[in-house]
């Protein structure tokens, strides 16, 4: 099971600011290990953020997104105490969903 993401969702005026750090290796498939063998690519391909059942951001990533990816965005609406959900899926088909309460 992959490690949980850190998500912070803050209500600023009439918008919700979401900042997240996802725990993931984001291996490029370019790097070689100690024996000179290529470390296979392992990276997040899709990220989806939802609020109240509605997608507020979706992204497709390549392996050039940095290790333990950081992502920040802002959407209109949101209310304190409500939840924002983020889901990622990587190229091995591994998946994780976490949520944060808007504060």
């Amino acid at each position: 099971m992959p490690d949980p993401m850190k998500i912070r969702a803050t209500l600023v005026g009439d918008s919700t600011e979401v900042k997240t750090i996802i725990s993931h290796e984001m291996e490029t498939g370019q790097r070689k290990d100690g024996q000179g063998k290529i470390v296979p690519a392992w990276f997040i391909q899709t990220v989806t953020a939802t609020y109240a059942g509605k997608t507020v951001l979706s992204a497709q990533w390549g392996p050039a997104v940095a290790k333990n990816p950081f992502l920040a965005f802002k959407f209109k609406g949101g209310a304190k105490g409500e939840k924002v959900q983020i889901t990622w899926v990587d190229n091995r088909g591994e998946k994780r969903t976490d949520e944060a309460v808007i504060g």
């Binding site: 490029t28 899709t46 920040a72 965005f73 609406g77 969903t97």
Partner: protein
């Protein structure tokens, strides 16, 4: 959550599924700036190839796309902060392209109505390169670029 994960594993993982769909012609190039992960776009080696894989022509230069808190010089290519904001009305998608990386397309964000057309993330850069912000707005494409100097590359290590 575990059930879903097992189903994913059973189906052979996301890549295989997408590859199959792409092979079956289900994923048309113009869907590339939408939900599905486009293998051809993410494997493209040049800006032109990415644009071709996404099925778009040469985008128009735009001064309404700005790089926010993005450095001119990155000391560590493994972690380069990139922020892109678009002031173009009806911005639908923002993509980050790094010209001199092994694969050019780095990330592609779909911006639904109600979400600010501004995102920030961190990327890896192999070497000093032009970074392009490609924006889709109202069905049209716009681009802005910025050179980021890298003192220590973030690939191959």
């Amino acid at each position: 959550m575990d059930t879903t994960r097992r189903e994913w594993l059973k189906s052979g993982g996301g890549v295989t599924l997408f590859t199959l769909l792409a092979a079956a012609g289900w994923l048309k190039p113009d869907h590339a700036l939408a939900q599905a992960w486009s293998k051809s776009a993410f494997e493209a080696k040049t800006v032109d190839e990415v644009e071709k894989a996404l099925g778009i022509g040469a985008p128009a230069q735009s001064k309404d796309i700005t790089f926010v808190s993005t450095p001119d010089i990155a000391e560590n290519g493994a972690v380069v902060p990139i922020g892109i904001a678009s002031a173009i009305p009806k911005t639908e998608a923002i993509a980050i392209l790094i010209e001199k990386n092994p694969s050019t397309l780095t990330a592609n964000f779909d911006i639904p109505a109600g979400t600010d057309p501004a995102i920030s993330t961190r990327v890896k850069m192999a070497q000093t390169s032009n970074v392009y912000a490609l924006v889709k707005a109202d069905g049209k494409y716009y681009v802005a670029s910025k050179e980021i100097k890298v003192t220590l590359g973030g690939c191959g290590g």
